[in-house]
């Protein structure tokens, strides 16, 4: 699957593919990120020597708040760029892309599920899924949007707005939206943290099942050992982030 997508990336982004293992979705190499303090000094937040995700691999990333996980997700998704290092997704070194190309890449290749769902209140469930397709450059596929809603069990709630849906249902819509453009990587940022206990199980099962079915790599951030324990591979953020190892007690703005 990875190989097939690489060709597409060459055409749409025009960047050279880098030598990445044939079955690798994500590679972070010597990625560093720091923020400027009001006094002008730099506050390091992230220092990852090496982190990678195989094709369609599902990984739980465990870390406490303030460990740099949001910064890490922003860098992987191209919302932020690292100060140094490489971020390679599907063979494309996205940190070298100009911002507009990174946005496009994100729209086409990366699905995002947020802790607080982040559905747009003005749009129905169906339209929220369509919106996920609207920024990738292609035509919004209404049939696929309905099919995705059906897969997350909300085909009968398609016309409802987020305010008319339960939190569990809202997160299901968010999962459908994240899959809209057939991404190769799904980033889930504590997707069950805002969902009631009864729904946590459902949401987790749903995310893992659709990723397996669609051959999508999953990086799921959680601070719940219970949720992490279901994954074959569990990565502790402080194991890969050397900043956390040295300044764990110092606080982190991200």
């Amino acid at each position: 699957m990875g190989c097939a997508r690489w060709d597409k990336s060459m055409n749409s982004h025009g960047t050279q593919l880098v030598g990445l293992g044939e079955f690798m979705s994500l590679l972070l190499e010597r990625v560093e990120k720091s923020y400027r303090e009001p006094d002008g000094s730099r506050l390091p937040v992230l220092d990852v020597e090496n982190f990678q995700l195989d094709d369609a691999e599902q990984v739980a990333l465990v870390g406490e708040s303030g460990g740099g996980k949001t910064t890490l997700l922003n860098i992987i998704s191209g919302i932020s760029t690292p100060d140094t290092g490489r971020v390679v997704i599907d063979g494309v070194e996205i940190n070298l892309l100009p911002e507009a190309a990174r946005d496009r890449f994100r729209a086409e290749r990366i699905g995002f599920v947020f802790q607080t769902f982040n559905l747009l209140a003005a749009f129905s469930a169906f339209e929220n899924v369509l919106l996920g397709m609207s920024f990738s450059g292609g035509r919004a596929d209404r049939g696929r949007a309905l099919e995705l809603l059906d897969r997350v069990g909300l085909s009968k709630r398609a016309t409802h707005r987020p305010g008319q849906l339960s939190v569990g249902e809202q997160q299901r819509v968010a999962v459908a939206r994240a899959l809209a453009n057939r991404p190769s990587l799904l980033l889930a940022d504590e997707p069950t943290a805002s969902v009631d206990l009864a729904n946590q199980e459902n949401i987790m099962t749903l995310i893992r099942e659709v990723c397996t079915a669609d051959n999508v790599a999953l990086l799921l951030v959680t601070h719940s050992p219970d949720i992490a324990s279901r994954f074959d591979r569990i990565v502790r953020l402080d194991e890969i982030n050397r900043v956390s190892q040295t300044t764990a007690a110092a606080g982190d703005p991200a």
Partner: protein, 451 residues
């Protein structure tokens, strides 16, 4: 989903403030359209290039008033001219057409102005290359009348209908006994002729009360012809006081079966003779000299029917229009600012919404375009309703304006300048959308998502 539908959804989300700001644009555009359309109608009506005759000769006084009551049937007529003077003009070797107008009465029903005239009037063009089209026989007898299309429609009159007149104004209680019969109905001309009733000049003179006491008439005639009454040396010798009715003989001083010297006309429409090869659209060569000669005279004036109106339009109406257009333009700009304020104020609430779209892959220029599209939808949508409402206003005002001023307004009139409203609104929308759009463009996604 395209950008416009995303923008439309956001507008719908803020339905109340969106519709209010859009309404303010609509009201501004409505006023501007109404001003433009009504002004366009007035402008066209009063600036016809030719109206079938080159000069109006009337009693010395306001040239504008002479034109207003002769051509537009507005205002009270000025003083009259002696009928003898009309005959002089008619027999002037330089004159091609001389058509007398006698004004002063109104129909009892509907209060339409009456003009006593002769059939020659209906042979003249009423507008460039436009001849009157009259259904019926036209003038045959003294008490025959030809009515304008609007008179026919409003009063429900047709060929064969009969009517009476009231003197001086529709409010007057003085009703004439004479009954006139409609012998011709004009097709609509879009000119004041549509709301005029023409009666045979002889019929006008036959109406009891349209002759003054003889001694008054002679006094006025002598005052007009200070150097002798042409063709009537016997009148020069006569003392007006000798014609004053004596209280004892019970005679009222009126003399039924009028002599020409007793008759009066309000105005005479003149075309001068022109050489056979003279261009049709050029003034006849003798016009200037003829007009100057009438001006020299102490008692009469000859005015170009176009000139006073053109001056009025340029000096007063044109400036009023400018002021109104500027004011309505300002209203639209203020509406634009209110759209800016509305969108700009919403931006702080929408930082997260914009950040979510960016996280889903929307580029900076995409979110900028969405905000700009919102501004466009509000401005252009409001403008579209404004144009409709403006024409609605004209439609609603047309009968009222007609009743108050006598101006006929086509409720479906369209002004080409209205076509500039849309591009102007697009420019306005772009201007007011830029700053909120840039705010969206600059949104810090990571920060807004973390909030």
């Amino acid at each position: 989903m395209n950008l416009l539908s995303i923008a439309y959804k956001s507008i719908k989300q803020r339905a109340l403030s969106s519709s209010l700001t859009s309404l303010s644009v609509a009201l501004g555009v409505m006023l501007m359209v109404a001003v433009l359309v009504i002004h366009g109608i007035i402008d066209r009506m009063f600036s016809q290039q030719t109206i079938g005759y080159e000069l109006i000769v009337g009693r010395k006084g306001s040239g504008l008033q002479l034109v207003l009551n002769t051509v537009y049937r507005l205002k009270q007529p000025i003083e009259n001219l002696p009928y003898l003077y009309y005959l002089e003009l008619k027999n002037d070797p330089r004159v091609q057409d001389a058509v007398p107008f006698a004004l002063g009465d109104f129909t009892k029903e509907g209060g339409f102005p009456i003009i006593g005239t002769v059939s020659d009037y209906f042979v003249l063009d009423y507008a460039p290359d436009s001849r009157f089209k009259i259904r019926g026989t036209g003038f045959r007898e003294s008490f025959d009348a030809i009515i304008g299309s609007r008179v026919a429609k409003t009063n429900g009159w047709d060929v064969g209908s009969t009517f009476t007149l009231v003197h001086n104004s529709a409010e007057s209680t003085h009703e004439h006994d004479e009954v006139f019969t409609v012998r011709g109905v004009m097709q609509a001309t879009g000119t004041p002729n549509d709301k005029t009733v023409f009666i045979h000049l002889n019929g006008f003179y036959a109406i009891a009360g349209h002759d003054r006491p003889l001694h008054e008439t002679l006094t006025k005639l002598k005052a007009f012809y200070t150097e002798g009454i042409p063709g009537h040396p016997e009148l020069d010798q006569m003392d007006p006081e000798s014609l004053r009715p004596k209280e004892s003989d019970g005679h009222d001083g009126h003399h039924h079966g009028m002599e020409d010297w007793q008759k009066e006309v309000t105005a005479v429409l003149i075309n001068c003779k022109r050489p056979p090869d003279w261009p049709a659209d050029a003034a006849s060569p003798q016009l200037g000299a003829f007009q100057a000669e009438k001006k020299r005279g102490f008692q009469a004036q000859a005015v170009n029917p176009i000139e006073p109106m053109r001056e009025l339009m340029q000096d007063i109406v044109g400036n009023i229009r400018k002021v109104l257009v500027v004011m309505t333009g300002l209203i639209i700009i203020v509406s634009g600012i209110s759209i800016f304020v509305s969108i700009y104020n919403s931006m702080s609430d929408r930082r997260r919404e914009i950040a979510i779209m960016r996280a889903l892959g929307a580029q900076r220029r995409t979110v900028f375009s969405i905000i700009l599209a919102e501004s466009l939808l509000l401005c252009v949508g409001g403008g579209f309703f404004g144009v409709l409402m403006g024409h609605g206003l004209v439609f609603a005002a047309a009968p009222y304006v007609a009743a108050q001023s006598g101006l006929l307004i086509d409720p479906f009139a369209f002004e080409p300048i209205e076509l500039t409203v849309l591009p102007a609104l697009i420019v306005l929308a772009s201007l007011v959308g830029i700053i909120p759009g840039l705010t969206a463009y600059r949104t810090d996604v990571a920060k807004a998502l973390a909030e």
